[in-house]
């Protein structure tokens, strides 16, 4: 049995109040809250074995190195990588994406090549490719979206994924509207034309089982803070053969084997891509977050969120006249992200209204401005759930939205 109340007890912040009302935290697509176990892992490191890694012969350094590398192994296992060497620590998903853009793409994208993305991309999986395309004389192709349910038009994929495609860089779960893209199918089509496949799993890996072998991708990105871990730590998965052929990203200490005045040789994977003292504490915290998620079970997390999504979509149906909810109606085809818009109240005003009820949602373009343009809105209000959210919280959201609609339509308050 999934015991959401028991899970909630692990998250100290969930018992706080906002403006004297219980906090209803529905901004998990932006960042998630942290369980005690993760916070404790940070404290344990700083209080018990703080030392630099890979450098000292002393006990503390050895202990720190072990725990830090153990965390890397946890990430590798979590996404089904063959080896921890295929996991490179970064600051966040944005850095993971830039790493690929500044190394692999600079070396491999040529004039006339095409980079295929979707309309749902977070700016972090779009803007770096714009630069690559400009630098190299390559072009960006945007897969088409169907108007009915804002999903990809899979029937037209062959027009876009062609022998000219060099890179397919696609988001798995959209942070903007929650849709889950058929990435296995897209990856299969891209492979068939010899393209390299990058999957932005920043939003999906926290919420459903993700397996790099099943997805058959070359690169995949993660951000620790979106999956119960600390901020400032992310990861890039790269298939070993590709990582080995790539040039380093940042240069300096730790990433070298031997250094002369005029040249240097590179360290082995994964250190080749990790210059300087890494974010040791937060990597260990990220590992603790993965332990937590695995203890709950990703299948269970997914089931819980499907149930929440179904409940939310049902509740919003009552407001059909006033509110548009974006994305497919089938909870299996989306994450627990409800992105909506109303002509009666601007998302920003709605966000302030909900905030005063203790409900935290995100309003704006969610770093997906091109997607907002496709949807014909400037911004949306977005409620995004996680494993600790409850149906009662969804009800509180819908109730508050209803009152906001009334408040802004007649101004009676």
């Amino acid at each position: 049995m999934y015991d959401v109340q028991k899970i909630r007890k692990d998250f100290p912040i969930l018992s706080r109040k906002v403006y004297d009302k219980p906090l209803v935290y529905l901004d998990n697509a932006a960042t998630t809250q942290k369980p005690r176990q993760v916070i404790q892992a940070l404290v344990d490191y700083y209080e018990g074995y703080n030392a630099n890694v890979h450098r000292g012969v002393h006990a503390l350094s050895q202990e720190a190195t072990e725990r830090y590398e153990e965390a890397r192994g946890k990430v590798a296992r979590f996404i089904g990588a063959e080896s921890p060497d295929e996991i490179i620590w970064t600051r966040n998903a944005s850095e993971s994406l830039n790493l690929v853009a500044y190394t692999w793409a600079q070396e491999n994208i040529r004039e006339g090549d095409e980079i295929v993305v979707t309309p749902y991309e977070h700016h972090s999986n779009l803007v770096p490719w714009q630069k690559v395309a400009r630098d190299k004389g390559a072009s960006l192709r945007i897969l088409p979206m169907r108007e009915e349910d804002n999903s990809l038009d899979m029937e037209r994929v062959d027009e876009f994924i062609t022998p000219r495609t060099k890179l397919l860089a696609v988001v798995h779960m959209s942070n903007g509207i929650g849709i889950i893209n058929p990435v296995e199918e897209l990856a299969r089509r891209a492979r068939a034309v010899g393209a390299t496949v990058l999957i932005d799993a920043t939003q999906s890996a926290p919420h459903l089982p993700v397996d790099v072998q099943g997805l058959d991708c070359d690169f995949l990105t993660l951000s620790g803070h979106k999956m119960l871990g600390p901020t400032g730590i992310g990861a890039l998965y790269g298939r070993r053969e590709i990582l080995e052929r790539m040039e380093p990203f940042l240069r300096g200490g730790e990433m070298v084997l031997e250094v002369w005045y005029d040249r240097a040789t590179w360290n082995d994977l994964p250190m080749k891509f990790e210059a300087g003292t890494p974010n040791i504490a937060d990597a260990i915290g990220f590992g603790a977050a993965i332990d937590y998620l695995e203890a709950v079970g990703m299948e269970n997390v997914r089931d819980h969120e499907i149930a929440l999504t179904a409940h939310a979509l049902e509740a919003f149906k009552e407001l059909e006249e006033e509110i548009d909810v974006f994305g497919p109606r089938d909870p299996e085809r989306r994450g627990a992200i409800i992105s909506f818009h109303s002509d009666i109240v601007h998302p920003h005003d709605l966000g302030t209204f909900l905030d005063r009820d203790g409900i935290a949602v995100r309003t704006g373009h969610h770093c997906t401005m091109p997607l907002m343009r496709e949807l014909g809105v400037i911004a949306t209000a977005r409620a995004s759930c996680y494993l600790y959210n409850t149906e009662e919280e969804i009800d509180a959201l819908v109730d508050s939205v209803k009152r906001a609609l009334r408040y802004f339509s007649d101004g009676a308050g």
Partner: protein, 152 residues
């Protein structure tokens, strides 16, 4: 009652619902665009100036939240027909008002309905919504013929 009334005062809601001077002016003497990337608020502002530099007409087309739209409407009333020196007083005064730096001797009279937006100062995340039209006006009045501002 809801303390949201500090933010959404009746006057604010009224300007939001019935924005004054909401119009595009074709071939305006000055034009400026304002954009708040955080929430996507957008405003296009148009000014006609008479020979002395006074604002003989003002119009704008705005998409955004209630606060930014009301601020644009109130601002248009406050500066219409004013000399450019007075318009600058409105700009400076409104900025001071929202940062609570206006001294006791400050003449709020000149702000007209804009003064009501003082309540926004208790909502730090919304200050940029309120100041977007004013920044855009400042840009339109500055030397450049066509300006663009962003509140980020």
């Amino acid at each position: 009652m809801n303390d949201l009334r500090d933010l959404y005062a009746e006057v604010v809601m009224d300007h939001n619902r019935r924005p004054r001077n909401f119009k595009r002016i074709e071939g305006a003497d000055r034009e400026a665009e304002g954009f708040n990337p955080l929430c996507g608020d957008q405003i296009s502002l148009y000014l006609n100036l008479d020979d002395g530099g006074a604002i003989s007409d003002i119009g704008y087309v705005a998409a955004g939240c209630a606060i930014s739209k009301a601020a644009a409407s109130m601002m248009s009333e406050a500066v219409k027909g004013r000399s450019s020196a007075d318009a600058r007083k409105v700009i400076d005064g409104f900025r001071l008002l929202l940062t609570r730096k206006a001294g006791d001797d400050f003449d709020y009279e000149i702000l007209g309905d804009l003064e009501i937006l003082e309540g926004v100062s208790s909502y730090p995340t919304r200050i940029k919504c309120a100041t977007l039209p004013i920044h855009t006006l400042a840009s339109a009045l500055s030397e450049k013929k066509n300006g663009a501002v962003s509140t980020e």
